[in-house]
Symmetry: C2
């Protein structure tokens, strides 16, 4: 029956909330310091933006493909070589735009929250 009520999954909502959004924090992280995937994962985790490998690696390839980041191989003392990512000038330009979009989104949502709270 199409009327049957389904159970709403908040975890899925959180995941969806990050959809298409992660490029921004990842660019911020790379923009702040040359770094590599496992460290980016760690920083995202510390920021409560949990992400898994299967999400991050394709995302980095995408950023590279768009010329927003670049990388250089670097040897490690404790394992295989690492792809050290750094932001490009193009990446910095896009980052500015994403930051503007974020601020707009941020203020829009916070306004809606205030309206909602005022009505209750």
């Amino acid at each position: 029956m199409s009327d049957a009520q389904q159970k709403y999954n908040v975890e899925n909502a959180k995941s969806q909330m990050r959809k298409g959004f992660l490029e921004f924090p990842v660019l911020l992280i790379i923009g702040a310091k040359v770094t590599y995937a496992p460290d980016i994962l760690k920083q995202l985790k510390e920021a409560n933006l949990l992400v898994v490998e299967g999400t991050l690696y394709p995302l980095l390839s995408r950023l590279k493909r768009f010329g927003l980041v670049e990388y250089q191989w670097q040897e490690s003392k404790s394992g295989p070589p690492r792809k050290m990512y750094s932001i490009t000038d193009q990446g910095k330009a896009v980052l500015k735009q994403l930051e503007a979009s974020w601020k707009s989104l941020d203020s829009s949502v916070n306004t809606l929250i205030k309206h909602y709270e005022k009505s209750n």
Copy 2:
């Protein structure tokens, strides 16, 4: 060749930034006042959260299917009848969780922005 650089589309990024996210503002709007689709579209537009019909109607069906909103038909003086949506108790409960997720996301991102700015 797979190395060819593609053009980054900021508009697409904005759209993706809203992906999976829209349930939250729509619930906020319905939670603040009983309303119907075209008015929700108008409010989203005023909040700079541009959305089109093809996005909103399936979203409303979804919220209904999950029992987060309900509707009643209401006749209009200027056209066909309207589905007037209101939030349910379940919807209010979910809204609380989404608000918590949003605040966490908000503070995480703003922290990353600060780190980025400090490093430049």
